[in-house]
Amino acid sequence: MPLIDVTTLQAHFEKSEGLLSRFFHKNTEVVHAVDCISFNIEKGETFGLVGESGCGKTTAGKALLRLLPRNVIKGKITFEDHDVYKFSTSELRRFRRHAQIIFQNPISSLNPRMKIGEIITEPFRIHGSTKSSREIQAEVENLLEVVSLSKSDKDKYPTELSGGQGRRVGIARALALHPKFIVCDEPTSGLDVSISAEIINLMKNLQRQLNLTYLWISHNLRIVSYVSNRIAIMYLGKIVEMGETFEVFKNPIHRYTKALFSAVHTVGGSKGPKKIILKGEVPSPINVPSGCRFRTRCWDSEPECRRKEPLLLPVGREHLVACHKAL
């Protein structure tokens, strides 16, 4: 039984209209952020969710943790076989202990008016920990050590920290209650290469020690390929390719995946394989193209791509692609 099971998840946001246009019943525009995606995450694995801005990956991550209003979501998300959107208040509270998030922005996701020590203590307070103040403080100090911050950082404010330090506080906060699952939203973006490497090593070690499961959301293909066991590529709200990372990396089939992988520069003096340069821009999620959403930028598109939406189908062991020309 997978830890997380997502079935035909959909997240549509209505674009807010002015009072008058609502009165005159103008057609409300809908942002199709996530459109019928299905996948599961096994216990102990790192599942990479890759895509560029606006593909819906962050929305999908938040949906998994029920951080989106119910009226926006359709489909089913289960955690340990229980429907996340059917939790009662107390069940939801218990769920939150087990499923945490590390937010994208390292500094602004921390309360600027709280000291670091207070920020990491907060989860214990919210979840009514029965530990004494002293025990909690000892835990907080332990967490700081785990993420390689010093005890003196406890008394600093978030604005006094660097991006890398802020990220570590976010990680410490997410770990406080020993969760089972963590959504990591762009955990290394904006960080220097060497700091990035430290954070990645830290998270991998923690995963081994604490048997954590990660949903690793990122647009940085190189890093996601390195950390994840399985990977799903998203484009304009849809999963276009999914499978074991090594397999997808070695043998990308969807044209978008090919373009993405080719755009990731090879580091080195010698020239890598010729880069695929996509034409045009990503279409608006309000007006998604008919049929295959990628057809407007695909160099291989045919009339069928406009008429019929391709389904995500297996092309090999643990490798699925949504493309009429996959086979």
Binding site: K204, R222, V264, H265, V267, G269
Partner: protein, 333 residues
């Protein structure tokens, strides 16, 4: 020699103290050469870039050194000369967040037109075919702007040129910036992290267009970034900076195939190469020093696994190693 920088040092004065963000920087850029300047946060790379056109914050001071553009000393120039002949004329700039560089209350057309009309005035283009003389200068300039925007991949440019910056995506704004930077035909373009924060596929498009424009105009470029991978894509020559010092200069292939400075080697090793690599990533122990509290001797020695006694006493200077184009600042090489 297009640009020669000799022993440049820039100091910041703040309430926390004084510190050198750039120390004794020396390098050259030839005509049409693309030089990459790589470094992490607090390396001083942006400070170095902006000091070339003397657009530093008010609390920065150029304490020593020469900046010679085609033999003329930029440090000694008056603000007026800098504005009339250098900034936006001989030297153009494109920056990381084009959002903040474009004026939100003017259309793209107005902004490009401003530059074109200023530029034309400076060069006094007088040779025009008879027919064109009767067309208004405005129409001509608009035609030129539309054609340039189309060339950098903005679809439907004739209509879009009359839109405001908020209608453009990040990638498109960056393309507008590139057009504005190249249209004045500069000798040198300073690009400060122009593709950082853009999606990978957009970055790929922008870099292609940038390379085309560089080829077309023959402009030299100082490309500042923290991204080693982008540098290996774009640059001919690469300079690596650490805590205010240039620690290595080499041709791109030589830098990546045989890096000499321990910091450069460590930086290259920090990048995960691909999905097949399963072992732990290399990291650099310790952290970048605070410019108000720099170590004695070589600034990298506290984090260097090869550090010896000599490294703690004296600052190593950039010296040529074997080939004339490979320089490194390290006692142990």
């Amino acid at each position: 020699m297009l640009l020669e920088v000799k022993n440049l040092s820039v100091e910041y004065i703040t309430s926390e103290g004084r510190g050198y963000a750039v120390e004794n920087a020396s390098f050259k850029i030839e005509e049409g050469q693309i030089v990459g300047l790589v470094g992490e946060s607090s390396s001083g790379k942006s400070t170095l870039g902006w000091s070339i056109i003397r657009l530093l914050p008010s609390n920065a001071r150029i304490r020593s050194g020469d900046i010679l553009l085609k033999g003329r000393d930029i440090i000694k120039m008056s603000e007026r000369t800098l504005n009339e002949t250098i900034r936006g004329k001989e030297i153009s700039v494109i920056v990381q967040d084009p959002q903040n560089a474009l004026n939100p209350v003017f259309t793209i057309h107005t902004q490009i037109n401003d530059i074109l009309s200023l530029y034309r005035k400076k060069t006094r283009k007088t040779k025009l075919p008879l027919l064109e003389l009767f067309r208004s200068a405005d129409t001509e300039r608009k035609k030129e702007a539309v054609s340039l925007l189309t060339k950098v991949g903005i679809a439907d440019a004739r209509r879009r040129i009359d839109e405001y910056p908020y209608c453009f995506s990040g990638g498109m704004k960056q393309r507008v910036m590139m057009v504005m930077a190249f249209v004045v035909n500069p000798s040198l373009l300073i690009a400060d992290e122009p593709t950082t924060g853009l999606d990978v596929t957009v970055e790929a498009q922008i870099l292609e267009h940038l390379k085309d424009l560089i080829r077309q105009y023959g402009t030299a470029v100082l490309y500042i970034t923290h991204d080693l991978a982008v540098i290996s894509e774009v640059a001919d020559k690469v300079m690596v900076m650490y805590a205010g010092n240039i620690v290595e200069i080499a041709n791109k292939s030589e830098l990546f195939d045989s890096p000499l400075h321990p910091y450069t080697k460590a930086l290259i090793k920090c990048l995960p190469r691909n999905a097949t690599q399963k072992d732990e990533l290399e990291t650099i122990p310790g952290s970048v020093p605070n410019i108000f509290n720099l170590p004695h001797g070589c600034k990298f020695h506290p984090r260097c696994e090869l550090a010896k006694q000599i490294c703690k006493g004296k600052r190593p200077l950039l010296k040529r190693n074997h080939s004339s184009s490979h320089e490194v600042a390290c006692f142990l090489v």
